[in-house]
Symmetry: C2
Subunit: 179 residues, 2 copies
């Protein structure tokens, strides 16, 4: 078993420096990045300087359910499967994500254990934004800081509406109304 | 049927001015206000000046599922039942909330229709924070603005974790694993 992720993140992976060299690619896929849709080039460049990039081979578990973690990932290249254990501990695939998607926002925000695992299905390049860099970004570039907080709010909000709706439908099917 | 809420909010209710006179009460119940737990007195006073207060008699539907709305409420006095329609249109109680709780954050953030209704079970005093005032607050008092965005993020995040967990459990019960 690997040690839990340290604040240095992914010591076992190839470290690619900050995300600045990936700004072109980020701008290329930006229409698919819900989180950055309202950012201009200049803002993306600023933001990229607060993110650190890594490369991971296919098969790497980049996020493990239950692990500590206070960062999110932006997938720049490649794809992952999102896996979640049921109450008996059996893991099942609950989703997939590809370039332009963000992963792990919940732990970035609250520092609580990871809700699900993410397993690379191909070679990945991804950028990490952790709590420390987000806090620095807010202090040093409040305009961009507020924008990313608003985007994170929109993203979580959208997800909360969707999951709440699914829960209502599930509960309804489980407990049919007696007519 | 009442007209949808206008941007002036609750023209039919007694308008109590801004929330400044309620700062003492807000500080009194603050330990129960998840949203404001990290705010000091000075910050609450600033924030209160961006919120508008109303009184509503028991029985008032202060939020109606499906209505437009871009504001949240902070309950200062009294309690509500939270009601949600199932897919057949039958309304059921899905929760209750009392003084110190916030309601309607999702529509504040995305401006989408209300997810559920809130019905006053006793006389209410509540403060409204709408998108326009939140935007002004962020522009005029960025420190407090960032803090409230962070608190909203924590709140939605907590709720997303809780609802996601409930959904996983519900799906598991509905589709038992074949062993």
């Amino acid at each position: 078993m690997e040690a839990p992720r340290t604040p240095d993140h992914f010591p076992q992976l190839e470290h690619l420096g900050d995300a600045a060299p990936h700004v072109e690619r980020i701008l290329e896929i930006i229409q698919h990045i819900d989180l950055f849709e309202d950012f201009d080039r200049n803002e993306i460049e600023h933001l990229a300087s607060y993110m650190i990039c890594f490369r991971a081979p296919a098969g790497t578990e980049i996020i493990r359910e239950g692990d500590p973690g206070d960062f999110m990932l932006l997938l720049i290249e490649g794809g992952v499967e999102i896996m979640k254990k049921d109450t008996t501990g059996v893991q099942a695939r609950v989703g997939v994500a590809g370039a332009g998607k963000t992963l792990g926002e919940m732990s970035l925000i609250d520092g609580e254990p990871r809700f699900a695992s993410c397993l690379a299905t191909s070679e990945l390049v991804f950028a990490v934004l952790d709590r420390e860099h987000l806090t620095r970004l807010i202090a040093e570039e409040p305009g961009i800081g507020v924008k990313i907080l608003m985007e994170l709010l929109m993203l979580l909000n959208q997800r909360l509406r969707s999951v709440s709706k699914q829960l209502m439908q599930c509960l309804e099917k489980r407990q049919p109304r007696i007519s």
